[in-house]
């Protein structure tokens, strides 16, 4: 009896060991890819998950998983994760974030893969350029975003004014549309120490001709009359912005516009919130290029080509990551990927910009006219520190400290003269660059 029990126990243990070992051996062949992105809204996470599920099903030897992060924290969290050995395999990026991660030695060059994708899909050069320096390409472009001036068409019609093209016309329109007693502000402009404010300040700088932050030799040229003019004009318009603008991020600006408290705002897009929470009338949603100073001939705007960095140095993981990115950039998937937020993310590939999967989204169909204008505006897009073919990675330190926004705050909150504030801003930028070189 005892011998039988012993034999049964041994058989049970062996069986359990086989059962435990079986799945592990099966898992050993699966390459795990963890990728971090900063697209936290649930509907974006859901859309990415749909694509991941399709990919994982079609690729049984690869398992991709997403871990959504926050833009506000990622500048601190990603370097810490790299230092702790817990870095993801793929990490989303904007141009001024990449140099930070490069400094901790984690970013892998992706020259060959970008060349392959360029041949297959045709990258717009402006999307690759901000990630190309020091002899390599450091990230794979995924989409573009560009600011436009959004306005309520009926407000303009009731006031009898035309959409502005120059700064004089813009100021006149903002004055005419402001009715503080009725709680209506001609424009909503942020003054927070935040990336959104950096972006709007740069919009003004571009349209004053001050788009170059650096001279060709890498020295700063922020302190120049065009920048002063840009900040001076910003402060003139800012008088007509709601009083809590110093605390705004993108969400508050959109809320102000959608609630018709703001007649105009500068934003990448307002389509989703306008459709979901506002009037939802495409005929009444105006979008135009950002007006420019009188001495310039055309408008420009800030544009952010978003991309993804490869952090893993494991060849198997690298190949699996590339396979996932190949899948995303295929036109039938790419449009669905971009339309995780319809009307916000603009294509960076030629075949993607014509893809049926992009233009067939119901919201894109409804707001096609606006999206065409956004696409057109993005062609004149640029990004501070990444202009003129000269890229200086020290821009990462300037951007991380929101020094454009801080300079603006000295003008519109502290009441400092624009020229003095700009001089202060340049000093801070020099200090930031020197600290990075220490």
């Amino acid at each position: 009896m005892r011998a039988k029990a012993g034999a049964f126990t041994i058989a049970l243990i062996i069986g359990m060991l086989f059962m435990a070992w079986g799945p592990v051996s099966a898992q050993e062949d699966v390459v795990e890819i963890v990728f971090w992105h900063m697209e936290q809204p649930p509907h974006r996470v859901e859309r990415i998950q749909q694509l991941i599920d399709e990919f994982n099903e079609a690729h049984p030897n690869i398992h991709v998983s997403q871990e959504p992060q926050n833009w506000a924290e990622i500048y601190a969290k990603a370097p810490a994760a790299v230092a702790a050995g817990n870095a993801p395999d793929l990490l989303f990026a904007i141009p001024d974030f990449t140099p930070i991660i490069r400094q901790v030695g984690a970013v892998q060059p992706v020259d060959d893969f970008v060349a392959e994708m360029d041949e297959a899909h045709g990258f717009f050069p402006s999307a690759v350029e901000p990630y190309t320096y020091d002899g390599h390409v450091w990230a794979v472009p995924l989409w573009n975003m560009a600011h436009s001036l959004w306005y309520h068409v009926d407000m303009f019609e009731e006031a009898g004014i035309e959409p502005p093209e120059t700064w004089d016309e813009w100021l006149a329109a903002v004055e005419a549309l402001t009715d503080e007693e009725a709680g209506v502000y001609g424009i909503g402009l942020p003054a927070n120490r935040h990336l959104y404010t950096d972006q709007t300040v740069y919009d003004f700088m571009i349209n004053a001709g001050a788009f170059e932050l650096y001279n060709e030799d890498g020295t700063l040229r922020f302190d120049n009359p065009d920048t002063v003019e840009a900040l001076d004009f910003y402060s003139q318009l800012y008088q007509y912005s709601p009083p809590d603008s110093p605390n705004w991020t993108w969400g508050e600006a959109e809320a102000c516009f959608v609630s018709r408290t703001c007649a105009m705002i500068l934003q990448f897009t307002v389509i989703k919130s306008y459709e979901d929470q506002g009037e939802g009338d495409p005929e009444n949603l105006g979008v135009i290029p950002i007006p420019h100073a009188a001495d310039l001939e055309e408008s420009g705007t800030i544009a952010y080509p978003n991309a993804v960095m490869l952090l893993t140095d494991d060849p198997d993981k690298q190949e699996a990551a590339y396979e996932w990115l190949r899948f995303l950039l295929e036109p039938e998937n790419y449009g669905r990927f971009l339309n995780m937020e319809p009307g916000l993310f603009l294509p960076v590939t030629e075949d993607g910009s014509e893809a049926e999967s992009y233009w067939s989204d119901p919201l894109v169909v409804e707001y096609e006219a606006q999206i065409r204008v956004m696409l057109e505006n993005s062609q004149n897009g640029m990004l501070f520190g990444f202009t003129g073919g000269n890229i200086f990675p020290s821009i990462a330190q300037i951007s991380a400290q929101n020094l454009l926004a801080q300079t603006l705050q000295r003008v519109v909150i502290d009441g400092e003269a624009p020229a003095d504030a700009v001089a202060w801003g340049q000093e801070q930028m020099i200090e930031a660059i020197e600290a990075a070189e220490e």
Partner: protein
Amino acid sequence: MRQTGKVKTMRTGWNSQALLGYLLVAPLLLWLAGTILYPLMAAINLSFQNVGIIGTGGQYIGLENYSKVLGSGKFWDAFKRSLVWVIGNGLFQTVAAFATALILKQRFSGRGIARVWVILSWIVPTVVVVIIWRWMLGTSGGIVNYLLVALGITPEPVAFFGSPNTAMISVMLINSWRWFPLMAVILLASMQNIPQELYEAAAVDGASPFQRFLNVTLPGLQPVLFVMGLVGTLWSFNVFDVIWLLTGGGPSSGTTTLPVYIYEMAFKKYRLSRAAAASVLVGLFLLLFAVLFIRFMAPKGEEEGE
């Protein structure tokens, strides 16, 4: 000989008891060493180097970080704001907590519900508190501004976070709103331990309610006020989340207290070692404060009892 034997036994007994005591506290001490002592030592070590971004290397540079921090006007501005922050929060929270505790001590119908209700703002997570107040105080559809304008209290919406001073006061009030219930509950519990006879005797002697509060309630609360004064000040000084989430230290650095300054130094300016030096200095300051507070503010009764 017999006496010596007794001493030996006592010493042996004490030793085994002490050993047991050490064994019992050892896990906690090890845990504290791992979670507090090691990071503290790492921060001190870091403060003597020139590390920029976390994860990158650095060289030892002596006291340079300390001299730069102490010579920085921004550090001292943040220090002043921290003092304003601690004093402001202390005032707001003390007044609100005392008022609440005194009201909740009275007998009235629904007192039980009120005592639970009042603690709700403390239970709500910080992020939720921040979102609630940001939207309530907003000028585009915020309920507070709507009421202020509708009731004719202000002619136009108020920008609560629009200038450095209003932002500081607004954040202090929101933080106080979050924390005063805890203080009120502690005070209430302590008030209920004060013998009722003392109030009755004071009333017989003709003491007014204010005199009873001054001469009976306050002395009775002294031990708990001492502890709350010490712990509350240290907590308050180190508050980061509410400030960062509400204003990010702005506008125009108006709410950049020392914890915000240190965070920005480490993760915005990427000067990790300098931030570590500032942290060490702040730690030393708080340690000095705690020593002085205990030395001069400890209730006399406890000292006598030692």
